[in-house]
Symmetry: C2
Subunit: 340 residues, 2 copies
DNA sequence: ATGAAAGCGCTAACAA
DNA sequence: TTGTTAGCGCTTTCAT
């Protein structure tokens, strides 16, 4: 069906070695021969099989990508950042998603290793204590983490603790005193922990009480009534919510809207991620923005640098700057209106 | 570095053939031998290289996926639908995005073919007149299109014409007479054409004037002033907008909001795609919903059926039902308030 | 300038 | 039950 180098050789009347030369070192072959063989290649529509090359110990030009989910645009944006560069560099991407499941993480990494990828770009639930990553280190398979905010491994990320700190400080500067942090599926992840840490530090520095993060199951796309009540009633209800990601912030905004709470007048909202989509909301969502696409492309560049040994790459964590998008979901609170 | 079947054989003291049997037909090998070799496999952490198998002419268990972009969640959702099944079936996915560029489409398909994928799942700009797809047909490489709404090729899609027709009829039923269709990047695609056709038919059937689609460059994330003026001023300004996709609808909503137009009171908006995110907007976006994830998984099932020859699969187009999500972005218009 | 042949990791037919 | 061997498509010495 698919023509091989043999077919070309037979068709052109030369040996497969010469055909190979036409492909890989055209200058070493007689111009006349070159011409003939090229014609055969065209006629048969021959494309050298990467399989054969790869097996020969050549480079596979394959990179594995492991992401939690594509339902969250954060990761879709990263992937787009990776793919643009990969295509330009002539690499192929093999993609697997894990749905935040440790078994699927393990399985994905094993599958990709077996496929002999030259490197791995991944986002895992918890980077510090990840036995599989230790294994990669030990076996010398190159990888770069995205969004995993760890100093122990090669990673590209924002400083989650500092970013949360900055964001919550901004809320405080707007006069908020009772600020609650909401977290979703990320509760089990290193990122969420660091974000809560930043929140707690900002609160503490202002002499305010930091509360544990309120965990939300937002797969339901719906705010549980108990949670809603917690947010909206009582004299100690929060005036601002710091949501550990934008998707969660959107779910919360919608829940509040249904409960006839005005954002930002009755409640200020700050998200985390900087989804492009957030700017299209009304009101546009205030968010701590990670440069997601840039994180993807930076991860790619680091990985390729290590694969090509073109750079020493001594450092482990690469921290990209975060930005505060001060959308319209944050209102200032006058001191008098606060009971605290 | 990576152990091969030879290493295992040497370590266990058997031939590579027996090791191969342990992997592929354990019951044909002496239990004692089995045990020993398995221990060696574990010790060396050996995983059979798919490359070797694939080269042997075994199946590659590789599926190529070609999508326009991941920045639009429509495609991310499809991909998620594919990936879930692919992982469950033990297939690997090779992903390439095209940014709606014909050259990149061509390059992606060629690259994936060269990699010997067993099949292709793709969304192209224009399916009917696509020479590369003809080539795939000719060469017997299996593929299934997603979202490309054509009767000529294997495809999974909603009926774009009918869906648009239904949606616009709904707008008409709400009393709207001056309805404009807005289209974005998709203007060059078969989907956009069919959607406009459905719009025009609905208008015509109601005795109303169908206008050409107003083309919007929404990469800017911003509505051009001229467009905005066209939508908001004059006695013949539209009372409802049918947007050819949800992302575009969001940009428009935001533009109107800035221009102090109330949605839906001053302008009704209907999108197309049914992005999960749309429901989180305030007001929730009315949309003609395609079951994106389901389109992805259906495409996967069709492709696998053809690869396994497990089903005859005579039909070409598989049309999945669309649904109307009647969000709060559509208001009824009383006849008296209409000048038409 | 070209060809012959070995070998990459694996499977399967055939031998023992 | 186990081993020997050929061959999948390709690159790369080593001869010619």
């Amino acid at each position: 069906m698919i023509p091989t180098i043999k077919d070309v050789a037979a068709h052109a009347g030369f040996s497969i070695a010469t055909v190979s030369r036409v492909i890989n070192a055209p200058h070493t072959v007689n111009p006349l021969t070159l011409e003939k063989i090229r014609r055969s290649i065209d006629t048969l529509n021959f494309r050298p099989s990467p399989l054969g090359r790869q097996l020969r110990g050549e480079r596979t030009r394959l990179i594995g990508v492991v992401l939690p989910t594509l339902a969250n645009p954060v990761f879709a944006e990263c992937l787009q950042g990776i793919d643009d560069l990969a295509a330009a560099h002539g690499y192929r991407l093999m993609l697997m998603t894990t749905q935040y499941d440790a078994d699927r993480e393990r399985h994905a990494i094993e599958t990709l290793r077996a496929q002999r990828v030259e490197g791995l770009i991944l986002t895992v639930a918890d980077a510090d204590t990840h036995p599989l990553l230790d294994e990669l280190d030990r076996d010398g398979l190159l990888y770069v983490l995205m969004h995993n905010d760890t100093a122990r491994r090669p990673a590209v990320s924002v400083d989650n603790r500092l970013a949360a700190f900055d964001g919550v400080r901004m809320l405080i500067a707007h006069g908020h005193r009772r600020i609650l942090m909401l977290a979703g599926t990320l509760a089990a992840s290193d990122r969420a922990r660091l974000r809560h840490l930043g929140y707690a530090e900002a609160m503490q520095q202002a002499g305010l009480a930091a509360a544990p993060a309120l965990e939300i199951d937002f797969n339901a796309n719906e705010l549980a009534p108990a949670v809603l009540a917690h947010l909206t009633t009582g004299p100690h209800r929060p005036t601002a919510l710091f949501c550990s990601n934008d998707l969660l912030a959107m779910v919360v905004m919608r829940g509040l809207h249904r409960a006839r709470m005005q954002v930002p007048n009755d409640m200020s909202i700050l998200g985390f991620d900087g989804l492009a989509m957030g700017e299209l909301l009304s009101p546009p969502l205030a968010s701590i923005c990670a440069p997601n696409r840039e994180i993807g492309s930076a991860a790619w560049r680091r990985l390729i640098a290590r694969i090509d040994r073109s750079a020493p790459d001594t450092s482990l964590a690469l921290t990209l700057p975060h930005t505060l998008r001060t959308g319209a979901t944050i209102a200032a609170i006058s001191n008098t209106s606060t009971t605290a």
